[in-house]
Symmetry: C2
DNA sequence: TGATATCTAAACCATATGGTTGAATATCAG
DNA sequence: CTGATATTCAACCATATGGTTTAGATATCA
């Protein structure tokens, strides 16, 4: 109906709206971590932290693989990229280095076959 | 405590997590609109839409100026830029055109005085 | 003045969210 | 088997969210 209605974006932006979850993602950017490891910096029950991990997982921002009793989490950058792509449309409304980038990309696009969408 | 704790990011990402609000932003990218104009595409009471506008406003994504009885809203791109900047750190985890951009920016940074933060 | 238009405020509702605790499920180590 | 470790599940709670409706508050028009 409305357009700009990626089912993913709802979940991804919601997941990113919590500082605990953003911190977890940041931690995961250094490599895979167990749920307890992710929970450790926070003054919060493990069950609470586990719920945050689930939100990240549901948003597709994190994947999990179980090794024995330990659940390892990994950053899933694709969904982050998807979310960042949402901003691309708005980049023309501010004017810092991104402007230059935008121009470069657009010039690039003019020389390559179209990717998937604008 | 946790770091990556921009008070703005919470509100901005939360605001972006709703498709109605994203659509409103998109509409505003074409120029200023009144609250009713923003509300019109949605099957929702005006009061409901007005609440969405308030969320966008509270997040700093939209500003309002009253003209007579009409409240006009304008896109505030700065906060969007701020949110997009959050992604910059993660760009190295995916490899599409952004990679190239990243490299270009970094090369640029090496030649200019430092901006504000990485 | 009075009617209409634009918008917010307030009260309400159902459901989601972020947290807790306590119990259940697996796994690993003796 | 026993016990400790790693994690989830389930129930619960307070508060937030997204919506409604009804009732103002202003502003414009006639």
């Amino acid at each position: 109906m409305v357009e700009y209605q990626s089912p993913h974006l709802d979940a991804v932006f919601h997941a990113l709206s919590d500082p605990t979850r953003r911190a977890m993602l940041h931690r995961l950017s250094a490599g895979k971590h167990s749920v307890s490891q992710l929970a450790e910096p926070f003054d919060m029950s493990l069950a609470g932290a586990s719920k945050h991990v689930k939100v990240l997982e549901a948003a597709g921002l994190v994947s999990r693989h179980v090794e024995g009793r330990t659940h390892y989490c990994r950053l899933e950058a694709a969904r982050l990229a998807e979310a960042q792509a949402w901003f691309r449309y708005y980049e023309r409304f501010w004017s810092d280095r991104l402007d230059a980038l935008q121009n470069i990309l657009e010039a690039e696009d003019r020389q390559k076959p179209p990717a998937e969408k604008g």
